[in-house]
Structure formats: structure tokens, C-alpha cells
């Protein structure tokens, strides 16, 4: 015979009292565990949502960069730096620039820390008469891309046209059956055809590209260029052109900047906006997730203390009732020699069992409730730490609630109890 047997036998005898106490503890623990599980689930859901959004944004960004690469590759250079004396109206009317600026400008631009444009290409270009063929053409001299000092070397968008070579537009090579390797004479100067472009449906179809120096010679424009072509970065802000103009003006005061290919850029802008929208959606998802977690925390902050206090009061009531029921029993146990500490152990032992069983049931219930609201997260929410906390806190709560009634029961005078009988 020992105290634990007495505890177990008493529980079996007054099983309803035990069950009611277990239910009280279970509810408190279930509220706590369900709240914690739902908060954890919220955090995981939020993280998953944000991760999905991040993936979408990354994919959108990738797609955007790819689109921009394709667009700009197709467009060629979309920024034109023109000389101060360029008549823009005439430029638009004729399609070729007439103003000139020193070739040294391109070197100055390349050596500047400017980031809003890249792939600098100086050109001289002019409408001329192809005397031998009696055809008006556009002669463009190019030296190839000028590497920018502060950037990593990049693959040039246009290859250098070597001296003695010529690249022909469709309307120049096709009617004459010219092919790469064919020879021709342009205004008294012999060239070998290096490349023949397919039809583009633009002024390029009547353009002949030669080496910059040769073009300058032919046009009498030594050390001068008509324009510097460049490619704008997608890193520019919404008001790209103004920004580019401001930046270039710091290096080349007086020059004029034009942007070409607005339609394609509009698509890029749309992509930019899409990316921004995705970024906003990501931020909104993060905020929404945070709000959901905060809301669940607010609910838990009210519900859990209420459940704990309610459970505590419930167990106190049950313990008081139990102590009253056992008054005679405690009286005789005290009379036959059981000390106060032993009586305390009798009550607190039961309370600890109530707490352990209630904690386990409460944890299981709370976990099921919490995961029930959280879809398929299930196992990932299981936290052995919280299980241990439940199995420690519940007996502590139960013992604390039973402490005072147990103390009163242990302190009752057996003589009075026996006399009452």
C-alpha cells in the first residue's frame, strides 16, 4: 500500500471529478496550443506565399530582362546624341543628321562614369549620290563600339567595319546581285562587300556602312562625327529621357539627345510596371501575412489568458468539491497517522495526473484544431518543445489550482471531523 495507489484508486472511484478536471485543463492547453499552432501556421503560410510571390517576381524580372535584351538587340541603338548645331526638325525630315561634333566627344563620354547609357557608337552619316550607280544612298561610317572605362568589356552590338570593306542594305545589294566578297566602287573608292543585310523596311535598306575614317575622308569630315549612338539602360527611372539628358549634359554640354523606338520601349515600360506590380503584390502579400499573424496573436492574447483563468477557477472549484467530499476520509487518514504532507501529496498527486492527462489531451486537441485551420501543413507544425511545455505547464496549473483546497484539507482537524460523524 502506498500513496500513489491511494491516488489512483480515488481517481477510479470519483472518475467524473477526474474527467471534469481533465476537461478543464485540456481546454486551457488546447487554446494555448491551437493559438500557437495557428500563429506558426500563419507564419509558414505567409512565408510560402511570399516565397511564391518572390519566385513570380524573379521570373517576371528574368522575363523582363530577356525581353529588354531581345527588344534592344532588335532595335539596335535607341539613344542618339546629336551635335549642338543639329537642326532636329531637319533631322526628322531628312532622316540623317547634318550637324557635326568632335570625334573626341565619344571618348569623353566613354571615360565618364555615366551609367544610364552604354554601347557607345560614333558615326558619320550623310545622304550622298552614288555616282557610279546614280542612286541616292546614306553613307554611314562607323568605327565600332567604344569601350566604357568604368564598365566590364561587353560584346559589341555592332562589329567594326574594317577599312576597304562595306556593308550594304537590301536595296543596294539586291538589285545588283551583290554578295559578300563582291567588289564595287563607291564614288571612286573600291570596296569589297563584307555583309549584305536582309530587308528591314527602313532607311537601313539604302544605307552603306564603311569604316569611320574612310567615311570621314569621303565626306570631308576628318575627326568629326554626326552622332553618337547609344543604348539606354533599363536601370533608368520612369522619366528616362530627362535623366539621360541630364547625365549626358554634364559630360557633353550643348549636345542634343533623342530617343528612338518608343513603341518597343513602351513594352519595356509595361514590363517594368508589371515587375513593379509584382513587387507591390509581394509587399502586399508580406503585409497581409503579417496582418493575419498579428490578428491571430491578438486573438490568442485574449483567448489564452481567459482559458487559463477559467480553467484555473474550474479546477479550484472541483478541488474544493473533492476536498469536501473527502473530509471524512482525510479525517480518518489523519487519525490513523497520515501527516499533513502526505495528505497534500494525496491531492497534489491527483492534480499532477490531471495535468499530465489534460496536457496530453489538450495538446492533441489543440494541435488538431490548429492544423485543421491550416490545411495540409500538418506535420511541419508539430513542435516537441510545445508538447513538453504543455506537459509541464498543465500539471503546474492543475497543482497550483489544487494547492489551496489541498492545504485546507490537509490542515483540517481530524478531531473535529471525527466528532462531526
Amino acid at each position: 500500500m502506498n500513496i500513489s495507489r491511494l491516488v489512483v484508486q480515488e481517481i477510479a472511484h470519483r472518475f467524473l471529478n477526474f474527467v471534469l478536471a481533465v476537461v478543464g485543463v485540456s481546454i486551457a492547453v488546447a487554446c494555448l496550443v491551437a493559438s500557437v499552432t495557428m500563429i506558426d501556421a500563419g507564419e509558414i503560410e505567409s512565408q510560402q506565399l511570399v516565397a511564391e510571390r518572390q519566385k513570380e517576381v524573379q521570373e517576371a524580372g528574368k522575363k523582363l530582362n530577356d525581353e529588354m535584351r531581345k527588344i534592344t538587340k532588335g532595335l539596335g541603338f535607341n539613344i542618339v546624341v546629336l551635335a549642338e548645331d543639329e537642326d532636329i526638325a531637319a533631322f526628322h525630315a531628312q532622316g540623317t543628321p547634318t550637324g557635326t561634333m568632335p570625334q573626341e566627344y565619344v571618348t569623353r563620354l566613354a571615360n565618364s562614369p555615366i551609367v544610364v547609357i552604354n554601347h557607345l557608337l560614333p558615326i558619320v552619316t550623310r545622304k550622298i549620290q552614288w555616282a557610279e550607280q546614280k542612286q541616292t544612298i546614306v553613307l554611314t561610317g562607323t568605327r565600332g563600339e567604344v569601350p566604357q572605362a568604368h564598365r566590364d568589356p561587353k560584346k559589341p552590338l555592332l562589329d567594326l567595319v574594317p577599312k576597304g570593306k562595306i556593308v550594304l542594305g537590301y536595296r543596294l545589294h539586291h538589285p545588283r546581285q551583290l554578295k559578300p566578297g563582291s567588289n564595287l566602287t563607291l564614288n571612286g573608292r573600291d570596296f569589297q562587300v563584307a555583309k549584305c543585310h536582309a530587308e528591314r523596311g527602313t532607311v537601313d535598306d539604302v544605307t552603306a556602312w564603311v569604316n569611320l575614317e574612310e567615311a570621314q575622308d569621303m565626306l570631308g569630315m576628318q575627326n568629326l562625327v554626326n552622332a553618337i549612338l547609344a543604348l539606354e539602360c533599363n536601370c533608368a527611372t520612369i522619366d528616362r529621357l530627362a535623366e539621360i539628358r541630364t547625365e549626358i549634359a554634364k559630360v557633353l554640354p550643348g549636345t542634343q539627345i533623342l530617343e528612338r523606338g518608343r513603341k518597343a520601349l513602351a513594352r519595356a515600360e509595361a514590363r517594368n510596371k508589371a515587375k513593379k506590380t509584382a513587387d507591390n503584390a509581394l509587399a502586399a502579400a508580406e503585409e497581409s501575412g503579417q496582418q493575419m499573424i498579428e490578428s491571430r496573436k491578438d486573438q490568442a492574447n485574449v483567448l489564452v489568458p481567459l482559458a487559463v483563468v477559467g480553467s484555473f477557477a474550474w479546477i479550484v472549484l472541483l478541488a474544493v468539491g473533492n476536498a469536501r467530499q473527502r473530509r471524512s476520509e482525510i479525517g480518518i487518514l489523519r487519525a490513523i497517522g497520515l501527516g499533513r504532507r502526505a495528505v497534500l501529496v494525496l491531492f497534489l498527486g491527483k492534480a499532477l495526473l490531471v495535468g499530465l492527462v489534460g496536457g496530453a489531451i489538450g495538446y492533441a486537441s489543440g494541435f488538431l484544431i490548429g492544423t485543421g485551420f491550416s490545411g495540409s501543413l500538418g506535420q511541419s507544425l508539430f513542435d516537441v518543445g510545445w508538447l513538453l511545455v504543455a506537459l509541464l505547464i498543465a500539471p503546474a496549473l492543475s497543482a497550483a489550482a489544487t494547492w489551496l483546497p489541498a492545504l485546507v484539507a490537509a490542515g483540517q482537524d481530524p478531531a473535529i471531523v471525527l466528532q462531526e460523524q
Binding site: 500500500m1 502506498n2 500513496i3 495507489r5 491511494l6 484508486q9 480515488e10 477510479a12 472511484h13 470519483r14 471524512s328 476520509e329 479525517g331 480518518i332 487518514l333 489523519r334 487519525a335 490513523i336 497517522g337 497520515l338 501527516g339 499533513r340 504532507r341 502526505a342 482537524d413 481530524p414 478531531a415 471525527l418 466528532q419 460523524q421
Partner: protein, 222 residues
């Protein structure tokens, strides 16, 4: 002298006044003696018994049981003292309702932790004719059986003193005789029995009787 009560006075404070339950009473019970305290209800018999049992501290007077003043001990020491030296039998039996017969008999071993208690309990149960009732709970026993269980419980720790408060109050003639005979046997084997009763038949089993009326001794012990 196993039980020595000298000049015991005990009063209870109620809302209205101070009630003197026992007034300057002295009783002694030696080894081998069976003493009955008789008197009408409310005369202080139970109070005297509780004082003797170390359960109710007297206002004044001297108490010794087996040579020890139980009230000089701490509460925990006094509880253990009761478990080791005194057996109690009550009119209402005071069995633990959720324990079976064997466990009820073994209850005093909770305190002593005596490893031989189970063997002794077995012998007591057999002696009191309860062998076929071992697994029964008090609610499943007759009143006579319940009192026999209570008696077996009182004897488990082999006390030198038994204090019995109206042990036959709820029993029929045969069962009363059986219980009283057991008490008589206990005394004959060297124990001391202090029986509180108002049953004249019970007194016949005692070596001598002490009469209490209004908390005072009416007959001086020889």
C-alpha cells in the same frame, strides 16, 4: 500505565458561550486492561477519547500514552506516534470508500511503510472471517463486516492501545459481541482498551467502567 489521563479539562468556544466538555477528569488504563467510559450522549466521552488519542489537545491536564506525552510532539511526529501506538475504532467505521477490504486494512501501513504489513493484514482478514471479501469495497459489505475491517485496520500496526468510540453502535447483538470479544482478547494479550459507549451490554466485556456526566467523572476508578 499505557494510558494516563490526569486532570484533563477541555472546553469548546461557541458563538454563545464556553462549553466545558471535560472537566478535570482522570483515567488510567494499564496493560491488559479494558476500560469502558460510559455516560449519556454529550457527556464528554468522545472528547476524552480524542484527547487520549493525541487528536485533541486538552486545555489542561497531563496525557501520556505508553509513557509519551503525544502533545509534546510536532504534528507530523504525533501522527506517526498514533500510527505506531494507537488503534482507532469508530461507530461509523470510517473506512476509505474506494479501497477494497485488504487495502483498507493496510491503510495504516501508508505511514509506517512496514514491509510485513501485507502478511499481517492477510492474517487479520482471515481471523476476522473476511477472506472471501478481500476485493470488496466497504459499500459492498454488511455493517458487521465493515466494523471487522475497521478492527483489523486498528490492529495492523500492532498497537499497544485501542481507542474505541461506540464501536457497536451500528451493530446487531452478534456482531457487537464479536467486536467486543476481539477487544477483550486484545486486552488479555497485554494491550490497553479504552472503550467509549452508552451500551450497557458492552460494559460487561470491560474490566471496569468510568462514568461521565456533564464532563465530570462520576465514579472514581478503583
Amino acid at each position: 500505565m499505557l494510558i494516563s489521563l490526569k486532570h484533563i479539562t477541555k472546553s469548546y468556544n461557541t458563538h454563545a458561550n464556553n462549553v466545558v466538555a471535560v472537566d478535570d477528569v482522570g483515567v488510567s488504563v494499564d496493560s491488559g486492561e479494558f476500560v469502558a467510559v460510559v455516560g449519556p450522549s454529550g457527556c464528554g466521552k468522545t472528547t476524552l477519547l480524542l484527547v487520549a488519542g493525541g487528536l485533541l489537545s486538552p486545555d489542561s491536564g497531563e496525557v501520556t500514552v505508553d509513557g509519551i506525552d503525544p502533545y509534546s510532539l510536532s504534528s507530523e511526529q504525533r501522527a506517526r506516534f498514533r500510527a505506531e501506538h494507537i488503534g482507532f475504532v469508530f461507530q461509523q467505521f470510517h473506512l476509505i470508500p474506494y479501497l477494497n477490504v485488504l487495502d483498507n486494512v493496510l491503510a495504516p501501513a501508508l505511514v509506517t511503510g512496514d514491509t510485513n504489513a501485507r502478511q499481517r493484514a492477510g492474517r487479520l482478514v482471515e481471523r476476522f472471517g473476511l477472506s472471501d471479501r478481500l476485493k470488496h469495497r466497504p459499500g459492498q459489505l454488511s455493517t458487521g463486516e465493515r466494523q471487522r475491517v475497521a478492527l483489523a485496520r486498528a490492529l495492523l500496526n500492532q498497537p499497544k492501545v485501542i481507542l474505541a468510540d461506540e464501536p457497536t453502535g451500528n451493530l446487531d447483538g452478534d456482531n457487537s459481541a464479536e467486536v467486543l470479544k476481539e477487544l477483550q482478547t486484545f486486552a488479555e494479550q497485554g494491550g490497553a482498551v479504552l472503550l467509549v459507549t452508552h451500551d450497557p451490554d458492552a460494559v460487561a466485556f470491560a474490566n471496569r467502567q468510568v462514568v461521565l456526566a456533564n464532563g465530570q467523572l462520576q465514579t472514581t476508578p478503583p
